[in-house]
Structure formats: C-alpha cells, structure tokens
C-alpha cells in the first residue's frame, strides 16, 4: 500500500494576527506554526491504513519555505516514513499549490492520497479537489471513516440528517474531517528516530496565479453591544429587541 499525505503548516489558532507592511499579507515573523489540525487527522489515518494493511509506506508532502521541514519532522515523528518539501517562499494561490503537489504525485502511483478537509488559515477547502481533478482521480471530502480493501474503498461521512456511505475505486483522494480519528502523540524515541528519516527537497512548478491580492485587513469591529439585563427578568426586553430592533425573529 502506497500512501501520501499532503499537509500545510498554519499559524497556531490561538495566535493574534498582525499584518505585513505592504498590507497584503499576514506578518509571519512572530508566528507560532503548527500542522493544520485537519491535516493531523489525515496523517493519523494514513498511518492507520498502513498499519491495517500490515505493509506499505506513508509519505508526507508539503509546499512551503525551508522552515516547513520542522512540521514535516513532526509528521515523521508520528510514524510517517519520509517527507517531501517543495520549497517556496512566496504565498501561493490554491491552483499553484495544487500544481506543485501534482508534479510530485504524478510519478508516485499512490493508492490513496489524504488531505485535511481544509487548512484553517486560508479556509479554501479546495487543494485536495484541485489535485484530484488535475490527476484525473476521484475525490471525497469530509470523510469520517474509511476502509480500504483490494482496489476498493468504503467511506462514511456526516451530512445533514445522517451519515452517508460512499464507495469508489483506488486510487482515490480524500479529505479528513475531525471525527475520523484521534491523532497520536509522538513518543520521544520516535521523535529522535525521525531526525534520521529522509526529507527530499524539490523545486515546485507553480504556474500563474488566479488572483491578485489587493489587501489583507482586520475586519471592521462589531458595533458595540449592550447588556440587556440580568436573569430571567431580562427575557422580555431581549425578545422585544430581537423582534423590533434586530428584526431576526
């Protein structure tokens, strides 16, 4: 079983953001980086698929600056076999990231490629789908369970009103939802061993962007709210405001 997991590093979700001097990007100089939370579920599931199969390899792939090899090492510490870093210092459009990944994945013949369902910074929820289409493979996002058998996968995911089952062929590309699993914490021994695992560096083929960024700004602050009152006595006034002022019920 040959498995690839595509991951992205993102600012820690508790980070307060500041903006770069050009007003077109986030200032990342002071940022604490983490593996995007959904990508951790993808990594964990890649490892579990390999473990259930009893054989195979898991490769973690990312596109980013040299510093992103730190997050690849974390994946290696969890049990991933090797890493590939497409070195790029510039922020990329989703399609540029997808092209960079496709250049790596096209020659690898993976049975399954896992992504997180979306990165929690850019929140586009699209690179996995773009890669799937560029490679001509089927894609299912938001997966909550996956069973891989010979040349066939069975997937479950939560949609409105219940859980649906999906079946499809291998090779396939999927996006991990939070309910998929509980990612393991690497043990110290594994972290030490991960230092010896190989990370290959490649030059990405990004092509042209789809967008030109005009500005990145702080959203306008919400208008000042007010305390309507204390305890159940405040309820009548609250309902009046919701009906007459906000007009939402």
């Amino acid at each position: 079983m040959k498995i690839a997991v595509c991951m992205k590093r993102v600012p820690d979700t508790a980070t307060r953001l500041t903006f770069a001097a050009d007003g077109k990007s986030v200032d990342t100089s002071e940022v604490q980086w983490v593996i995007s939370p959904y990508d951790e579920y993808a990594i964990e599931e890649g490892l579990r698929i390999r473990e259930r199969a009893g054989e195979g390899t898991v490769t973690a792939i990312t596109v980013g600056p040299e510093g992103a090899s730190k997050e690849l090492r974390q994946a290696l510490g969890m049990g991933v076999d090797d890493g590939i870093l497409a070195v790029c210092d510039e922020p990329l459009d989703p399609i540029q990231t997808a092209r960079s990944l496709v250049a790596i994945l096209a020659d690898r013949a993976d049975d399954i490629v896992l992504f997180g369902k979306q990165a929690v910074d850019s929140q586009g929820a699209q690179v996995g789908a773009l890669v799937a289409r560029l490679l001509g493979r089927p894609f299912v996002n938001d997966i909550a369970a996956i069973e891989v058998s010979e040349q066939q996968v069975r997937i479950e995911r939560d949609i409105e009103g219940g859980r649906e089952t999906i079946e499809g062929p291998l090779p396939i590309i999927v996006g991990a939802e939070k309910s998929l699993n509980e990612p393991r914490y690497p043990k110290l021994k594994d972290i030490m061993q991960a230092k010896k695992k190989p990370i290959e560096k490649v030059t990405p083929q990004t092509g042209e962007p789809s967008f030109e960024t005009v500005a990145v700004t702080t959203p306008a602050p919400r208008p000042e709210g007010r305390i309507v009152g204390e305890g159940p006595e405040a309820v009548d006034e609250l309902i009046r405001l919701l009906r007459e002022e906000a007009k939402v019920i």
């Binding site: 399609i95 289409r133 939560d158 939070k178 789809s210 709210g225």
Partner: protein
Amino acid sequence: MKIIVWIEARNGQIKAPSLEALGSARNLAESGSGEVIGVICGPSGAKAAHSASTAGAHRIIIRDGESLNDAIADGIADELVAIFREESADMVICAATSTGKEVIALTAGTLGTSVAADCTSITRREDVIEIERPIYAGKALMQQKICQFPALVSIRPNYGERLEREAATVIEQAATTGSSVRRTGFKRGTVGKIDLAEAEIIVSGGRGLKDPANFVLLEELAELLQAAVGASRAVVDAGWRPHSDQVGQTGKTVSPKLYIAVGISGAIQHLAGMSSSRTIVAINKDPNAPIFKVATYGVVGDLFEVIPRLQAQLKSVLQ
C-alpha cells in the same frame, strides 16, 4: 458574460443559500451585459426549478439521469464542467455550503483555476471581478481581484442577495457523465437536519450547560426557532456533542442572522468562527466572559433560569 450557477436541491427542495447565489450572479450580470444560467442536477429537478425560477436566472438547465441518482459532488462537478464548455461560459458561482465547496473546487480543478471561496462580497468593475473573503476564520479579511477567466466563486450563506426577477426558461437535459464514486447508503440520525453553515438561526451551547443531557434545553429552543444546534470546542472534545456541531476555527465558520451563545465563555477560536453573525445574543453568568464583547445583546444570568423563561415567552410570541 455568461455565468453558470449551481443550484443545490435536496428532495426537490431548493437550499436557501442557492437563491442568494442566483441573486449575486444576477447582480453581476446586470452590472454589464450578461446571462445567468442556473443548473440543477438529479431527480425531482423540475420541482426545484419551479421554486428557483424567479430568483435571478435567465435560463435553468435540469440535468437528470440514472448516473445522478446516487451522485456525490464528484459526479455533479462533471455535469457543471460539461455545461460550462457547451455554453462557453465565463464564470461558475455557487453557495459555499459543504457540498457546494466540494462541487466548485472539483469543477475548478478540471477548468485549471482556483476558487475564490466563501466570499462575503463580489462586485464587477467592467471585466474585473473583485471579491472579499474572510480568512483565519474571520480574524482577517482578504480583498482580491480575479485576474483571469474562467472565474469560480462560492458565496458564504446569508451574504448573497435574494432577488425577484422574471421567470427563467427551463430546459431538461439528460446527464452526460458518471463518476466512479457513488453513494451506496444513508443512515438517518446523529446529525441535525439543518447544516450549521447554512442555518439562519443557531443556538449554541458550551461548558455552562454542565451536562450533555442539558442540551435538550437548547434543542427545544432550536425547534421553536427552526434553528440548528451548535457547540463549543470544549463540549465537543469532551464527547458531549458530535464534531459536526462544533463552531470555531477548527469546526464550522458560521454567519447566521441570529447566533445565540448559551453558557459559552467565548475563547478566541470560538469567536473567530461566529463573529460574522448578524446578531449575537450571549447568555452567561460571568459578566466578564469575552463572549459579551461581540454580543449584540447580552443577558447576565443563570442559563437554567433564563432559557426556560425565554422558551416560554417565545412560544407565546411566535404562535
């Protein structure tokens, strides 16, 4: 400019955010010369087309056939690509629902471009499309120009504009494609009927509820308001509520017309996921809880006293 709008329907019912997507597309079309073509895929499309016909489309194409009966996003995207090419269109727009995001990303992949995803604003200046989209779960706002066509855009639910226009011409066509991934089963239960991301009203609960069984208070309130029930990360991680209910940066980013936060203190990653809601109500016993900083209306008090009173009063007002 020719704009394809994917109209999402389930069991013949149009999803409200799709009507907003049609409205936004029509606005773009009317700010120059343009045509809006709505596309509905799958069974009972005719019924769905009827309820969407005056929402802004000039034409509505219904694609149906055996291959679409159990199709997921992968199959729907194939139909959109086929229509896009047949029509020599310039843009694809849909509502940024869970399925919508997946459908438009797959369509974009085949067309070789990125999606401007989950936009809160879209405008056209001659032949340049300008969009605004929240990133970092709303901690920042990004303004971009789309520099090439085809342009693919998804619009955040509750941020489009509903319009009333002349009735569209409806055309029925046979499905032309068939994806290799298909739905083979569905089990009812566990997940709410209204997807949080597209709900108009959300009632959300946190640690203050003290016990998972107490969520029944919020479920009753939600039923009264035809709302969806959300949850903070703390109670999802504690196993009180399913992951699909989580609101916040590692859950769903929501923007309903009304968000009622009950017993939620308002950690930064929760605020990031809901602070673009139009009206926010916070009910919390701690007057210093950060949730009050973003709340339009706050009630300081014991939720076990406030919620029953709210429910009783709403019942008499709404019925």
